[in-house]
Amino acid sequence: MLKVILSRFLQLVPVLWVLLTLTFFLTKVVPGGPFSAERQATPEVIAKLNEYYGLDKPVWEQYLAYLSKVIRFDFGPSYTYQSDSVTEVIARAFPISLQIGTLAFLIALLIGITAGTIAAVNKNKVWDYFPMSLAMVGICLPTFVMGPILALVFCLQLKVAPVSGWYGLDYVPLHPAVMPALTLGLFYAANIARLTRGGLLDVLNQDFIRTARAKGLPDHQIIFKHAMRGGLLPVVSFLGPAFAGLISGSFVVEKIFNVPGLGQEFIKSVFNRDYPLILGTVIFFGTLIVIFNLVSDVAQALLDPKSRRSP
């Protein structure tokens, strides 16, 4: 097991290298530069800026220079945030995305597993369709529609949550993470509900459940003691990518609720052509995704007796 984990960790290196290389050259072909502005600077000024940031050198030379810096965990300065390094930007923005992501994750799990379980137990009955439809509302409306609707209800009508901002908010009952997290959580709840239902149905059809039923065990005991463990396996395997997606994919809600998280930073860095910040965030997200995939695989292996025996 430990060996598997270690080898997966080593895989991180080539994965990140490919990711970095791909993104690096992609940013080089993007039209528009970091210093193009409405009120044009003179060509000399642009040249000077390019020289200052090393953008006047041949692309491969820039690439090697960047690579050698990244190895030392130096992601360079951000172009948009004057006087800030990419590391500083990530360090201040990521905790915000993490808080939103974690809360969204909990909300998604709560709604998803509940709905999925109820649905599986009542297969093809009203109580299958109803909770599943409810859970699916989240994936049938894009977050940029769901967000404003929730904002309208909770922030403008009920006035329990702030419409925008993170710091500098006083006298608002709910933490600014709640609304973005709810919007995101609803989105992921549907997938979790579906996986829970599917997983449980698979297990409920298996012989040992039949045996348990035949033995006359009560329903709830069958479900919680026997079925849940196997039935939630697919959910566990989804959790890794989902969690990474929650954190990196939160840019839409961050934009709608105007939260200074990392997702928004990434989008802005792309639109501002802030090359070091683009690369920094992409590498950071990539690392997260690999780690979360790994964690969810390990968790799955631990839960699944079959794969424990033959890793």
Partner: protein, 365 residues
């Protein structure tokens, strides 16, 4: 934007080896039977087909085009009575503008409020009203879904937008299915080093932040309709490849395939007759569930201003517009959202239904 992971039970033996030729068809018949039992999935299928048909042919019958603007109409609510204002022009034919009853008073802002209301009341009553420049006359014209901010018929735009969204959904899914099935099948069937290399590639790509790459691609290559779905398709095939590979590997070693091999059947025949039908189930299920995912991704791109170029529209772009103006003109959000989510609902239910139907184990209960 999500990586929809679906669990598939281990490969299914399509029956017992002796009668596998018959079993191949009976699986589908079985599935169809089970699908019919699932009312929700079935209605999902019917609804979805109806929606595709409506979007495909509907715009021909609405009487409006998606790009023709009528500024004076502004965003008028569904079924608002439309008043026609005819004004003389220096030369040529007179100018005709439609004005919604709800905003009619705004045309007489120079008059005191009581007069404005009186005039509007008269016109609404059916009387013709003339002032120095224009003649106002109530018409029988109505817009079923209302009009957007530029006075364009919303019904037409929703249907035309549906074409784009569905086209993007299907084309991108097709791209992802083709790449995914080929990649997975080759990896699974060849095994060994080839498998290792191919699947490492998938692992690497799995680590890419999906949306991030699509956004970078869209910014790099500009807003190109074709590129839109190629880009989306290119990032959505990974799960498909994994599923197909898994299926193929487990099928390879099952008795009925080994029997076929020992019978001396050609490799091509084995793949076509024995492997593909078995893989098809999961592929169909996954495809059904990828389409709504892609449509959502398209919507997000529209939100970021990277969707289809105007005056063309898509459900994503209409939703974005609607979400902006929902406090003042709810219908601009309501109708696109209704079409969009009901389509996504139907596809999701269909996918879930198919999953239940194509899963032979579930037939045992």
């Amino acid at each position: 934007m999500s990586q929809t992971a679906i669990s598939f039970p281990g490969a299914r033996d399509t029956g017992t080896h002796a009668e596998e030729a018959v079993a191949g068809t009976s699986l589908w018949r079985d599935a169809w039977y089970r699908l019919q039992r699932n009312k929700l999935a079935l209605s999902g299928l019917v609804f979805f087909l109806a929606m595709t048909l409506a979007c495909g042919l509907g715009p021909l019958f609405t009487g409006y085009t998606y790009e023709r603007t009528e500024l004076s109409l502004k965003a008028s609510a569904p079924l608002q009575p439309i008043i026609e204002r005819v004004g003389a022009r220096k030369a040529g034919e007179p100018r005709r503008d439609g004005i919604a009853l709800s905003t009619l008073e705004d045309e007489f802002l120079d008059k005191p409020e009581a007069d404005r209301q009186a005039i509007a009341g008269k016109i609404a009553h059916g009387d013709t009203y003339r002032d120095s420049r224009y003649t106002y006359q109530l018409t029988s014209r109505r817009h079923l879904f209302g009009t957007d901010a530029l006075g364009r018929d919303l019904l037409t735009r929703v249907l035309v937008g549906g074409r784009i969204s569905l086209a993007v959904g299907f084309a991108a899914t097709l791209v992802s299915v083709i790449i995914g099935v080929l990649w997975g099948a080759v990896a699974g069937f060849a095994g060994g080093k080839v498998d290792l290399v191919l699947m490492r590639v998938v692992d690497v790509l799995y680590a890419l932040p999906f949306t991030v790459i699509v956004i970078l691609l869209m910014v790099t290559f500009g807003r190109n309709f074709i590129l839109l779905f190629v880009a989306i398709g290119a990032v959505e095939w990974l799960t498909m490849a994994r599923i197909v590979r898994g299926q193929i590997i487990s099928l390879k070693h099952q008795e009925f395939v080994e029997a076929a091999v020992s019978l001396g059947l050609s490799e091509r025949r084995i793949i076509l007759r024995h492997l593909i039908p078995n893989v098809l189930g999961p592929v169909i299920i996954y495809t059904t569930l990828t389409v709504p995912d892609v449509m959502l991704l398209e919507a997000v791109l529209s939100f970021l201003g990277l969707g289809v170029p105007p005056p063309m529209s898509s459900w994503g772009a209409l939703l974005d517009d609607g979400a902006r103006t929902m406090e003042t003109s709810l219908w601009l959000l309501l109708f696109p959202a209704l079409f969009f989510s009901s389509t996504l609902f139907s596809l999701n239910f269909l996918g879930d239904g198919l999953r239940d139907a194509l899963d032979p184990q579930s037939s045992k209960d």
